[in-house]
């Protein structure tokens, strides 16, 4: 087939990119080769718009065993054990087909983890939707995650769900997974050993998902719905078998390298393994297990059929590998071999269909320094309105906020996930950070997933820093030391300079904060072109940060008993009117957005974390909850779920609304029997804080001077908190 300009455009390649292909090959590509290049050089696979900026992120630290560039990052957790973790997005497929899009998102990230030899032990999801009334997408996504994770047998231990109208045409589905293994059992995706067999295992190859990676690299238009056949269909049972078989096969010692077939399937797994190992891979497509007859080389190479892995075994030991896969009832066949010439060579029906140097596909992809020398996109006013309307009824506002889609309990969602399977979940959904114990050692792993698109929209750099700070604060609140991070960068069209500027600023912010909090980035994902019909999303980095702690019962969020001292670690940190516009009160009650995100002093923030961890280690915290969205009043309300309330007193600040609901970082609400000891620790870390009240039965009261600002029954708070989501979602069912 002749390669026409139309064909090049259809493959989402530019003329310049095509010319580069011709020069790398020294000839015109075949149609099949064009397809292979188009997926490997897609934004999704090549990170061509973000790569030069991602390079600026910190990736090294004393816990890091494997940084970016492998299927997942790996950190040491002590005792010769490691955890592998990563986050991936499945935004585009989840919009087109919510159930399967989300399900295969979970499947993909799980394979990334067990490809490394690590057994997945936890999943978290960061979800963003347009309106809560967009049920088809929300219920489909949640059911898809439940379907895949529950059957696979990995607990879904936490996450976040946020609603903003900018996500209505571009929901975000970011899935984080974490697995565990011994350090000497890690597997890498580096092919080696000339003549070693290349073995295909798992599901048969079908026509599903062809060009999924390219689909994920373009904006949505009216025609996008026609791409539904591009969304793959997941089979969690098959994935569970694949997990058990792979882990068992790895124990034979006969496996040299292994990589899952994710985006761009057979193509990416083979050329990446070859490129990393500096060798060639020769594959005969006639040997690939196929779901249907008559598939072309092009289709097989670009198929994104799920639950498939490619591995390189030691020559002569194939049978040991086959035996394991036979036990689990899975296909395993040799489809090629490792060669010395560095080429990806694809044979089909006796013909060579593609012959491309592996580095050309994996490493020579274009890298763009896209124009970004403008202000990041924003249209919200910078200044606060002249008058911020005073609340007519603070009690009613509090109840409305605690029952608002962003702040209400997400139980309706997480109750559909098995968050307990494997019996390691010490703190599950609804906690500040999830905590999962590692049974084999006395160590637990804590993890927090956080993003704030609204903050990042107002100031990408500060918003990104706040997201890192919040994750680390969540971990410290449970007593864990933050040690490493992964990130998912969700943005609009990078070819627009004001969007590219958002991305560049965000990456700079993440870099600054991850250096400061000593949580190097070990991997992640970039999802661009999150625009539908020209409307983009807020710049939304989602951070997943992992912390370590000794295995012990984690500090709960809820107040535990009456008569405990309520201590505000970090102090009041009043919000000014300009920064009040980025918060939940402005969004929900005033229906406005203005100004800047909260002010973050990273040095102070880190000292608060250190003090908090010491307070937990000393056994002084009976409950603890960080102050984030909705400020002090919401954090206190969220701590009232066990029917125990509190009587609090706050100093006169700017106005009752700002004092109660103003969002500022570096603050944690603790209950304790020993405020003097808490204070000593606090002073040692040069942090502010004080006792602001006492826990009482059944009522949340917050007073200022001689005025009672808030006085609501915990029963009412709990009802609003717990029933908001089911009421909104099931009213329409």
């Amino acid at each position: 087939m002749t390669i026409t300009p139309e064909l090049i455009t259809q493959h989402q390649l530019t003329q310049a990119e095509y010319d580069k292909i011709v020069s790398l090959l020294g000839r015109e590509p075949s149609y099949t080769e064009l397809g292979v290049f188009s997926v490997m050089w897609s934004e999704h696979c090549s990170y061509k718009s973000s790569r030069i900026h991602l390079k600026t992120l910190p990736t090294e630290g004393k816990y890091v065993v494997q940084g970016p560039g492998e299927n997942a990052g790996v950190i040491g957790i002590g005792g010769g054990w490691v955890v592998a973790f990563k986050i991936e997005s499945h935004n585009h497929p989840s919009y087109i087909e919510p159930f399967q899009g989300a399900a295969t998102g979970v499947g993909g990230i799980l394979r990334d983890i067990f490809t490394m030899g690590a057994r997945p032990i936890a999943v978290m999801d960061s979800l963003r939707f347009g309106s809560i009334d967009q049920h088809r997408i929300l219920t489909g996504v949640v059911a898809g995650i439940a379907h895949y994770g529950n059957c696979f047998g990995v607990p879904t231990v936490g996450g976040e769900t946020v609603f903003e109208s900018c996500y209505s045409g571009n929901p975000l589905v970011n899935v984080f997974a974490l697995g565990v293994c011994k350090e000497n059992e890690i597997f890498y995706a580096r092919a080696s050993g000339i003549g070693n067999p290349v073995i295909y295992v798992g599901a048969k190859t079908g026509r599903d998902g062809i060009h999924g990676a390219s689909m994920a690299s373009a904006e949505f238009t009216e025609e996008s719905k026609q791409k539904r056949p591009n969304v793959q269909v997941g089979d969690p049972f098959l994935e569970k078998l694949l997990l058990e078989a792979c882990i068992e096969a790895m124990k034979t010692g006969a496996i040299v390298a292994i990589q899952d077939m994710g985006a761009a399937g057979l193509t990416s797994s083979s050329c990446e393994m070859g490129s990393r190992g500096g060798v060639g891979i020769d594959i005969d497509l006639d040997l690939v297990p196929q779901r249907e007859p008559g598939m072309t080389a092009y289709e097989m190479l670009l198929s994104e059929s799920q639950e498939r892995m490619l591995l390189v075994a030691e020559k002569g030991r194939e049978e040991e590998v086959f035996q394991v896969f036979r036990k689990w009832g899975l296909d395993a066949v040799t489809i090629g071999k490792v060669t010395p010439d560095g080429n990806l060579r694809i044979r089909h029906k006796g013909k060579i269909e593609a012959e491309i140097p592996n580095p050309a596909l994996a490493d020579e992809a274009p890298k763009y320094d896209r124009p970004h020398n403008v202000k990041p996109y924003r249209t919200a006013p910078l200044d606060a309105p002249a008058v911020i309307p005073a609340s007519k009824d603070l009690n009613a506002d509090l109840l409305r906020l605690i029952g608002s889609p962003d702040l209400c309990s997400k139980r309706w969602i997480w109750q559909q996930y098995d968050y307990q399977v494997r019996t390691n979940t010490l703190a599950g959904p609804g906690s500040d950070a999830a905590v999962v114990r590692i049974k084999e050692i006395g160590q637990s792993v804590a993890m927090s997933l956080d993003g704030n698109g609204r903050y990042c929209y107002l100031d990408p750099r500060e918003g990104a820093k706040l997201a890192v700070a919040e994750c680390c604060r969540n971990l410290s609140t449970t007593g864990a030391l933050p040690v490493a991070a992964t990130n998912n960068l969700n943005f609009g069209n990078p070819e627009r300079p004001e969007i590219m500027a958002q991305l560049v600023e965000t990456i700079a912010g993440i870099g600054e904060a991850c250096r400061h909090f000593e949580t190097p980035i070990t991997g992640g994902n970039v999802s661009l072109y999150n625009e539908t019909l020209g409307e983009g999303i807020y710049p939304t980095p989602v951070l997943g940060i992992v912390g370590l702690m000794k295995t012990a019962p984690p500090v709960p969020v809820a107040f535990q008993r009456e008569g405990a001292h309520v201590f505000l670690l970090g102090g009041f940190r009043p919000t000014d009117p300009q920064r009040f516009g980025s918060g939940e009160y402005a969004k929900v009650i005033l229906n406005q957005l203005w100004g800047l995100p909260p002010m973050l002093d990273m040095h102070y923030e880190k000292r608060v974390h250190e003090a908090m961890r010491e307070i937990v280690a000393a056994g002084l915290a009976e409950s603890a909850h960080d102050l984030s969205d909705g400020g002090l009043a919401i954090a206190a309300s969220e701590s009232c779920t066990s029917e125990i309330g509190a009587k609090l007193h706050i100093p006169q600040g700017v106005s009752p609304e700002l004092d109660l609901f103003g969002e500022a970082p570096s603050r944690i609400l603790i209950t304790t029997a020993n405020p003097q000891q808490v204070e000593q620790i606090m002073l040692r870390h040069d942090v502010e804080g004080c006792v602001i009240g006492v826990t009482i039965g059944g009522q949340l009261q917050i007073g200022c001077e001689d005025r009672m600002l808030v006085n609501v029954a915990t029963e009412d708070l709990k009802r609003e908190f717990e029933t908001a989501l089911p009421n909104r979602l099931e009213a329409h069912a």
Partner: protein
């Protein structure tokens, strides 16, 4: 007490059961692969939770044909203790060791949460150390846990004191709030809640231990 934990392709609570049993003094667990024709030297068998064969066709419908199930049936017929948890309960009804069926939850959604159960009988090797009427709070995690049987069967179960546990606040629409039932010989228990998930104070509860301790005790002092 030596306990065999059956592993079907797709079982995913097998490790949890194994871990819970091995943490009990005087008890040990080992895995039995689904195509094993024999059970080996065991005093009791656990059919664990999970999604055996992906729960394709119907929950437990394919697992009942696994070679090991012949051995389990024989073991049960000989009076051996068999406990089916969640997917294991579904397999037990499919294979005919227990009556009834498990349908999709009334909400049509998977539900994972702690539920309070009332102990309905202590006359069984699984409940002998509990007291009648005792509340036991255990986690559930299932999409198809709505117990169903015809009225005659339900009457019979009640008349024969074979309802082991009832939900205090029925989460899934189960007939007569039934959460777990016994075989006529009382040596086979099927229940949807997960006692193996409630055997460790660190993960929140030890209220599941009573079931395994009852088994241990009844094996030490044979009732018959």
């Amino acid at each position: 007490m030596k306990v065999g934990v059956i592993v079907f392709p797709g079982s995913n609570c097998d490790h949890d059961a194994w871990y819970a049993i091995n943490n009990i003094q005087q008890a040990s667990a080992n895995f039995i692969w689904h195509d094993s024709p024999t059970l080996g030297d065991v005093d009791a068998v656990i059919l664990p939770g999970g999604f055996s064969y992906g729960d394709y066709l119907r929950c437990g419908a394919i697992a009942r044909f696994s070679p090991v199930m012949r051995a389990v049936k024989k073991f049960a017929a000989d009076g051996g203790l068999v406990i089916g948890i969640c997917n294991g309960f579904q397999v037990l009804v499919e294979v005919g060791l227990l009556p009834g069926a498990l349908l999709r939850n009334q909400s049509l959604k998977f539900i994972c949460k702690d539920v309070a159960l009332r102990t309905e009988t202590t006359n069984s090797p699984f409940t002998s150390t509990l007291t009648k009427g005792q509340t036991v709070t255990l986690p559930i995690a299932h999409g198809e846990g709505q117990y169903f049987a015809d009225a005659h069967t339900l009457d019979e179960l009640e008349a024969e004191d074979r309802v082991a546990f009832r939900y205090i606040d029925n989460p899934n629409g189960s007939a007569r709030d039934i959460a777990g039932i016994l075989s006529r010989e009382r040596n086979v228990l099927g229940l949807m809640p997960h006692p193996e998930r409630a055997c460790d104070p660190l993960t929140g509860s030890t209220q599941g231990l009573g079931i395994f301790e009852s088994m241990l005790q009844s094996l030490a002092v044979p009732a018959r």
